[in-house]
Every structure is written in structure tokens, then in C-alpha cells.
């Protein structure tokens, strides 16, 4: 699939749902995993307000504020006619008036992630009669385009290099936040535009968390989610490093997670529901006697991974209730990360691409329990 084909599929759905004009909004506030209609329609990660405009008849455009962002937006979205404006809502009013389009024929997407007053103003602009069109975009962004898959692959390569660097730098006495800043910078120097980088250490962790000023100590387990974004695609590898030599219990427990991952990867193929993948992971870990630790309160959510990309998290969580059927081109993180009473929280996981015949881990080297000399 390519971007044009995604657009055509979106237009087909617009026609089915009686929408002549689809508007995808974003305000430039980026949270991991939150919906970004603008990004899905344009590939443009805005700093401020912008709206992508998809006309059912074929023409498409984008209004971008401030106006000086228009050049960058046009590079990201050569398929859209980009106009730089000072106020997207005012410009949109003019555009709608020019088109003389009834509000009931307009679909709006992305309002749920805007500041509430802005969302209210947009709804009022269409007299609260515009249709919600979030799902039209979401369902067609679930499978990645060929270019997006290539970018996810490159992002994963950056993540793996980041992990190699982490093994070089992580030592007792190093502050978590110093390590995180250096790793973020290093992966940026490899081309990562952003990074959802979780990193923390402790002798018996309860969860992975954002870094703090804590200094690592001998015997700590260092947890990390390295999640660089390359050209709009976020990937994620999950790793655990022992500050010193791993104990027999740590090795045994980690192997359980690896076995869970492998079983999940085997189950991941086109045509099966995502819940099957979760069940496959659970079968191994529950079978090893750790069923209660794979659920709240030990885990925040009962899941074994989540969708990847940027702006659309489909195919969603690797959870027991997710019945979305896997399709070629879907990319998600499969990570049986969890708390185990002998060791504390452990992390292992890879980004997985659903292929025509099964699945493929995008990482070249899968997780093993890391060790650093103390």
C-alpha cells in the first residue's frame, strides 16, 4: 500500500458515510500513542495548528499556521496543496464559505486531542452538525504504507544502535537522566526526530518509568523502552540490563519472558485476532506460574504490547480483548514485560511487522538479558 491508495480508501469511506469534505485537525501537541488525524492524512508533524482538508471529489489541501511552517509542510505532503495562514480557523471559515457546503456533509477528525476551547470553536463553526470522522482515518492507517514500513525498519536500526550505546555507557554511579539525555542525543544524531525513551533502574523495579536523577548501583536492573521516531514512524525495543552479573534467578525469569515473546511472535500472522497473540504470550508466562503478575495491579494494563507508528495506534493493544484481525503491513510492539516476584519488573520486546505469511521482527538482534561490568 502507498499513501495514495490510503487516500483513495478514505475517500471511498467518505462517500459511504455521506461526507463530502473531511477535515483532520492537530494543534502540535504530541503525546505518545494519541491520535493525530493531520499526521495520518499528510505525514506532517506540525508545531502549531494545522488542518488537512480532503475533498471527496479529489482535491486536497492543508492549512498551516504559522504561515512560515508552510514550506516544511509542503515537503512532507506533496500530495496536498499547502497554504500558510496566521489563523487556521479563520482561514477554514473562508474556505467553507467559498465551498458553500452544508455542515452535515463535513466530517471532522482529531477534535478529541485538541484543547477543549479550540475543539468547541471548531464544532460551533459547523453548528455542531459535522460528523465525527476519526474512525475513517484510523481504520485506513492501521496497515502501514511501504514507505512507513521502511521508516519503521530504519527507526528500529537506530533503536538497536541506541541499545549498543547504552551497554557502553550504563555503569553504577551514572545518573539515569544523564544516561537518557546522552542516548536521546545519540539516537538523534542517527536521524531520530524524537524518542519516547523510558529508562529507570533499581534493585527491584515495580515498573518502567521516566528517568530520574537516581544514580545506578551495582546489582540494579536497568529497564528501558527505546522508542525512536524516524520520519514519522515510532518503533520500540524493550531491554533489561543487569549492573553486574545476572543471577540464576534473573536468567531463569528472563528466559520465561523470552519464551513468551517467541510464542507470541509465532502466533502473529494475518487473519488471526490480536487477542490470539496475547493469549500465546500469556500461555507461556501463566504456565510458568506467574499468571497473577501479568495483570493489574502488577501491570498497569493487561497487555503484551501495543500498536506502533505515530498518530495512530492501530492495531491497538496486544490484549486479551482486542479482536482486531491482523493484516499485512500492521506493525506493533510485542513485549511480555512484567513484574516477577524474584526479580522485579523485567522487559523484553521487539517491533513486529505482519507479513503476507506470518510476522517479522524488525530488530536484527532480539532481546537477551544484558550485563555490564561493575
Amino acid at each position: 500500500m502507498n499513501f495514495q491508495q490510503r487516500f483513495e480508501a478514505i475517500r471511498l469511506d467518505m462517500s459511504r458515510e455521506g461526507i463530502d469534505l473531511l477535515l483532520g485537525f492537530h494543534d502540535g501537541t504530541h503525546f505518545g500513542g494519541s491520535f493525530n488525524a493531520l499526521m495520518m492524512l499528510s505525514g506532517f508533524r506540525s508545531m502549531g495548528n494545522a488542518v488537512a482538508i480532503v475533498d471527496g471529489n479529489g482535491s486536497s489541501g492543508m492549512l498551516v499556521a504559522p504561515a512560515w511552517e508552510a514550506g516544511r509542510a509542503a515537503e512532507c505532503a506533496p500530495h496536498l496543496k499547502v497554504t500558510g495562514v496566521e489563523d487556521t480557523l479563520e482561514a477554514l471559515k473562508d474556505e467553507i464559505a467559498r465551498r458553500r457546503m452544508p455542515p452535515s456533509r463535513i466530517g471532522v477528525a482529531g477534535l478529541s486531542v485538541l484543547p477543549w476551547e479550540q475543539a468547541k470553536r471548531i464544532s460551533a463553526l459547523f453548528e455542531d452538525k459535522a460528523k465525527s470522522a476519526d474512525q475513517i482515518i484510523v481504520r485506513h492507517a492501521a496497515a502501514k504504507t511501504e514507505e512507513e514500513v521502511a521508516n519503521a525498519r530504519h527507526a528500529t536500526l537506530i533503536a538497536e544502535k541506541g541499545y549498543a550505546r547504552m551497554l557502553e555507557l550504563a555503569r553504577p554511579g551514572v545518573r539515569e537522566d544523564d544516561l537518557a539525555v546522552e542516548l536521546r542525543w545519540y539516537m538523534k544524531s542517527l536521524g531520530a526526530e524524537d524518542n519516547f525513551l523510558m529508562l529507570n533502574a533499581g534493585p527491584h523495579n515495580k515498573a518502567v518509568q521516566p528517568c530520574s536523577s537516581r544514580k545506578m548501583e551495582p546489582g540494579d536492573l536497568l529497564l528501558t523502552e527505546l522508542s525512536p521516531i524516524y520520519k514519522g514512524q515510532m518503533t520500540q525495543i524493550c531491554r533489561t540490563i543487569v549492573m553486574g552479573r545476572a543471577s540464576a534467578a534473573q536468567k531463569r525469569c528472563y528466559q520465561i519472558l523470552i519464551d513468551g515473546y517467541e510464542n507470541g511472535e509465532k502466533a502473529a500472522r494475518p487473519g488471526v485476532p490480536m487477542s490470539t497473540v496475547c493469549d500465546a504470550v500469556d500461555a507461556v508466562i501463566d504456565g510458568a506460574g506467574y499468571a497473577e503478575y501479568g495483570r493489574p495491579p502488577y501491570l498497569r494494563l493487561r497487555r503484551r504490547g501495543h500498536g506502533l507508528g505515530f498518530g495512530c495506534d492501530l492495531p491497538g493493544d496486544v490484549g486479551p480483548d482486542n479482536d482486531i484481525v491482523l493484516e499485512p503491513g500492521m506493525v506493533f510492539a510485542l513485549h511480555p514485560n512484567q513484574y516477577l516476584p524474584e526479580t522485579g519488573y523485567l522487559m523484553c520486546g521487539e517491533p513486529l511487522l505482519i507479513t503476507a505469511s506470518g510476522s517479522e521482527a524488525l530488530s536484527r538482534t532480539k532481546a537477551v538479558l544484558g550485563e555490564v561490568a561493575t
Binding site: G28, T29, H30, F31, G32, R45, M47, G48, P66, A67, W68, E69, G71, R72, L111, S112, V113, L114, P115, W116, E117, A119, K120, R175, D177, A180, V181, E182, R184, W185, K188, S189, L190, G191, E193, D194, N195, F196, L197, M198, L199, N200, G202, K206, A207, Q209, P210, C211, S212, S213, R214, I229, Y230, K231, P296, P297, Y298, R300, Y339, Y345
Partner: protein, 375 residues
């Protein structure tokens, strides 16, 4: 200046009592409540996220490193920090504030109701801070706590007026931030002079700022001679001449910002806008009107036109947010306030050459102390 923020903040955000002791926050909270009548509010509900958190950070030092959080700050008594996610993640979050009372945030209204139940005798009269950045569902949920009196007062403007005049410890942080900006700008200029590729030069400057303790560094740079700026999105393997850049640096919770044009060659527009900036700085003092400063700049950059990225803008207040009130421009009736810190800028273009420069200033009664300048 608008810039790109990160999904997850990784710098040194933990509370450091050496830099900002607990008494500093107690005093800020007292000063805030002194401006709010008792009949209007007995507690404040504050929202903040990884992008917008100035109000939350000002009163609690707490910055959500990922997504969003809330706090309840009563007129008297200990503030409560409310975090989404899981209690298992509290150990890192606890380091972010001098206040150690944390609870899980599920539904904002439930959190408020629970807090009121836990504080019998405290009237359920809230003021809101920072809630303009809330998402529609969150905001609606929050309003659910106040069914009788509809939306409580949004008191951010009151807090902003307090935040504008910087306290001694705040100024110390801003001064250090300006030292970091100066060093980073120097690294950028040197890298550009030595022919480094543009993103490599920016990365070198960012690393220098990080090494000096910056919490966050957000750079924008030009590929078109300075007509526009862009954030880092991928590696660009060519050098640019001239290099127009903007760097925003966060240190100890305070932003400093600079616009700079790096070029070893003669640049007539830069020379003119630099002179305009110097004249503006000479005129800046408590009570100076934005309109008068705008006239000075407009006259000084002639025959060039204002840079389209700045238009009539001369700068803004700066502190815990990159853009604090007031925004200074030719049409505003804003007046520079003694004790406040501003970023002041001037820019021009002749259609071929473009330049923007800026300075960080602390306003005094008889003039401005230049904390950093591109010139």
C-alpha cells in the same frame, strides 16, 4: 517562538532543594492565594502536560515528563499531585516535586470529590489553573465535580501576573540558562564557521547545552538563508551559509531563548537588525511602551521590511513558559514591567537576505540588564 516539543521529557527535572527550596514554593502559593478572595476559592485545581505546565511547575515544581497530570493546591495545607498510569510509577514521580503527597488520577471529578471528602470543612470552591490546555473529555470530566456552579473561575491570569516579576532564585536560574545559551550559541557559530553540516552543527550546540545541565533544548534552523525556520526532522548532510537559528533552552524550570544568525560573511540585513536591537535595548526600561519600541525598530531596519516570521512582534515575556504574557508588538498597549524578563527581537529582509536576532533582558526602572544577546 513556536517550536517542537518532545513526546517524553528526559532531562534533569527532579526537584533540587539547593536550587529551589520548599520555602520558595510555599511563598509562591501564599502569594497566589493572597490575590484570590476567600469566597472565590479555597483550593486550586491545576492541569499540566509535557508541553504546557508553567502553572503546575510554578506552584509545585512538578513537570509531567509524559502526557499529563493534575494537582490540587489548597489555600492552606499540603498540595496533592495526581498522576495517571499506575502507582508502580510513583517512585520516579516523587522526585519531581517538593510535595510528596501523590495519588492516582483516573477521573478528574472523582479526584476533586475525593479530595473534598478528605478535607472536611474546606468549602468546595475551586479555581482552575492551566486548564485551557485540557482535552475536551478531561475538561468535561473535571466540570463534573462542579455541577451546581458550572465552571469555576479560571485564575491563570492572576497567577501569570505573579509569575511575571521574577524572584531572586528565578533570576539565578535564568542567568544560568543564559550562560548555557551563550555557550551553545558559540558552539553553533563555530561549527557553522568550520563548515559543519547543518544538523550536525545544531546537534553539537544542543549537546553542549545538555552537558551544562539544560533540561531541554529546542532548536530551529534555516535551510533557506533565514527566510524560515524548521525543527530537526532528519539529518541534513550539507552546510548552510548563512545559518539562521533559534535556540530555546530550559534550565531549572526556566526558559531562555535566542535568535541568532551565523555567518562569517558581510550581511547587510543582519547589521541593520542588530542595530535595531541595540536601539531597542537602550530604550527598554520599566514603563516603556511596546508601541514606542516598535517605532524604534521599524525606523532602524529601514529600508528593509520586517521579517515575515516576526511581523510586528518584538518579543514576549519568558520564564516557565517560552511565551509568557505580554506579547509585545506594534499594536499592543503592553508596557515593560520592572523585574520582569523578556525576550526582545528584531528581524528584517530585503527579499534575498534575511536576519533575526534577539536578546534576553531583565527590566529595571532606569534600563534593561542584558542577560544574553545575539550581538
Amino acid at each position: 517562538m513556536l517550536n517542537m516539543h518532545s513526546l517524553l521529557l528526559v532531562g534533569p527535572y527532579d526537584w533540587d532543594p539547593e536550587l529551589m527550596p520548599r520555602t520558595e514554593f510555599d511563598e509562591r502559593i501564599r502569594a497566589f492565594w493572597a490575590r484570590i478572595p476567600e469566597e472565590v476559592g479555597s483550593f486550586a485545581v491545576i492541569y499540566g502536560d509535557s508541553r504546557y505546565h508553567a502553572e503546575l511547575a510554578y506552584l509545585t515544581h512538578f513537570v509531567p515528563k509524559v502526557r499529563s497530570a493534575m494537582a490540587i493546591v489548597p489555600r492552606t495545607g499540603e498540595p496533592l499531585l495526581l498522576l495517571p498510569g499506575s502507582r508502580n510509577s510513583f517512585s520516579s514521580a516523587q522526585r519531581l516535586s517538593c510535595f510528596k503527597n501523590l495519588d492516582l488520577l483516573t477521573d478528574p471529578a472523582r479526584a476533586v470529590d475525593q479530595w473534598v471528602r478528605d478535607h472536611p470543612g474546606t468549602p468546595k470552591r475551586a479555581v482552575l489553573l492551566g486548564t485551557a490546555a485540557m482535552r475536551p473529555q478531561q475538561y468535561q470530566q473535571l466540570l463534573g465535580a462542579f455541577p451546581d456552579n458550572a465552571a469555576p473561575l479560571e485564575a491563570s491570569h492572576t497567577l501569570h501576573s505573579l509569575m511575571r516579576v521574577k524572584r531572586p532564585r528565578e533570576l539565578a536560574a535564568i542567568r544560568r540558562g543564559c550562560e548555557i545559551l551563550s555557550a551553545a550559541a558559540g558552539v553553533l557559530a563555530e561549527a557553522q564557521r568550520s563548515g559543519a553540516q547543518v544538523t550536525a552543527a545544531v546537534l553539537e550546540a544542543e549537546r553542549a547545552a545538555n552537558a551544562m545541565g539544560a533540561q531541554d533544548v529546542r532548536s530551529l534552523f534555516s535551510l533557506d538563508g533565514g527566510a524560515s525556520l524548521r525543527p530537526f526532522s532528519t539529518l541534513i548532510e550539507r552546510a548552510v551559509e548563512p545559518l539562521q537559528a533559534s535556540m530555546a533552552i530550559l534550565y531549572a524550570g526556566y526558559w531562555v531563548e535566542g535568535l541568532m544568525l551565523c555567518s562569517a560573511r558581510p550581511h547587510a540585513v543582519r547589521d541593520r537588525v542588530a542595530e535595531a536591537l541595540r536601539l531597542m535595548l537602550a530604550q527598554a526600561k520599566a514603563g516603556a511602551k511596546a508601541g514606542d519600541l516598535a517605532d524604534t525598530v521599524a525606523a532602524a531596519i529601514r529600508p528593509y521590511k520586517p521579517h515575515p516570521m516576526l511581523g510586528a512582534c518584538l518579543g514576549n515575556g519568558i520564564g516557565m513558559a517560552i511565551e509568557e504574557a505580554p506579547r509585545l508588538d506594534a499594536k499592543s498597549d503592553a508596557v515593560l514591567e520592572g523585574g520582569a524578563v523578556y525576550t526582545l527581537c528584531a528581524g528584517g529582509t530585503d527579499g534575498r537576505q534575511h536576519a533575526m536576532v534577539s536578546a534576553m533582558v531583565l527590566i529595571g526602572d532606569s534600563g534593561a540588564e542584558v542577560l544574553w544577546s545575539a550581538e
